[in-house]
């Protein structure tokens, strides 16, 4: 720093008016008083979701739509499953009736041939 610069630097700047101190500090303090209260801390799960609330909301909405569509669309086996107990019962009864009638018919027409011992079967074969 040369002499010229030193001479300038020695020139004392004007003093800040003393009356300003009280007003400025009062204004600053009022800023603290009027500062909005800090937001209450969010729960952990919300803190985790918070960075992308719109994205998470969209994802939730998509799931709701998918679920609604799934519930509204009738499945191919939906009608069968809806009346399954009644159908099964009638089917069993029907099959039982068919089986009973079949057995009865078989008993009436051809009596069961008695199975001969193996030795007699050999005799029959030789005779033939």
């Amino acid at each position: 720093m040369n002499e010229f610069e030193k001479r300038i630097a020695e020139t004392p700047p004007r003093r800040v008016p003393a009356a300003w101190r009280q007003d400025i500090l009062a204004a600053a303090r009022s800023e603290i008083a009027t500062e909005p209260a800090p937001r209450p801390a969010r729960p952990g799960w919300l803190e985790w979701l918070w960075p992308r609330p719109v994205a998470w909301g969209a994802l939730a909405a998509a799931w709701v739509v998918i679920f609604a569509l799934h519930a509204a669309t009738p499945s191919p086996s939906g009608s069968q499953t809806a009346s399954a107990p009644g159908n099964t019962l009638s089917l069993i009864v029907k099959r039982q009736q068919e089986l009973t009638s079949l057995l009865a018919t078989a008993n009436e027409t051809t009596p069961p041939k008695a199975v001969s011992p193996r030795s007699e079967r050999r005799r029959d074969i030789n005779a033939a």
Binding site: I8, T11, P13, W20
Partner: protein, 168 residues
């Protein structure tokens, strides 16, 4: 340990006042800006907690606020020439007549400098900052700070030569 607002004011208001008055050349604007600096600090004390150098941080805040005001004022009024001619009392009044003339001439010469040169000269001469510290405070490269200082000092020397004739 965190300083109270009163301690901050007592420790730094004078430097901020002189800097802001030299930049704005307007006492009412200086008062508004000084108040704005302390209101900002009151609202966001955490900003000051993160600062390495309190004085440098306050000067930077004051400079940014002053720049905003000067730009708004320039756009609104376009009174640069009239502003330069105002030369408000930025220095303490002197009892000696010659010294008073020197101070008035210095204030007028400073007012003719572009704001960016005036800011660097103020921080160098009256705050005693290095070019690195000035650069950090004003957000400019150190070389830019040094060149602005040299240009500004050359202009002051030229302007004040008739009065400061004996000083080279």
């Amino acid at each position: 340990m965190r300083e109270s607002l009163e301690e901050l004011y007592d420790g730094h208001a004078q430097a901020l006042f002189a800097f802001l008055l030299n930049l704005t050349r307007n006492e009412a604007d200086t008062r508004d800006l000084l108040q704005e600096v302390f209101c900002k600090i009151a609202r966001r004390r955490d900003l000051l907690d993160d600062a390495r150098d309190t004085r440098a941080f306050l000067l930077r805040t004051a400079h940014n606020l002053a720049l905003d005001l000067i730009r708004r004022r320039a756009a609104r009024e376009r009174k640069h020439d009239a502003l330069a001619g105002e030369s408000p009392a930025v220095f303490e009044p002197a009892d000696d007549l010659d010294e008073r003339r020197c101070r008035e001439a210095l204030a007028a010469a400073l007012a003719e400098l572009p704001e960016e040169q005036r800011a660097v000269i103020h921080l160098k001469l009256w705050e005693g900052l290095t070019f690195e510290a000035i650069a950090e405070t004003l957000g400019i490269p150190p070389n830019t700070a040094a060149s602005r200082y040299r240009y500004g000092i050359d202009k002051l020397r030229e302007r004040l030569r008739p009065i400061y004739g004996e000083l080279r």
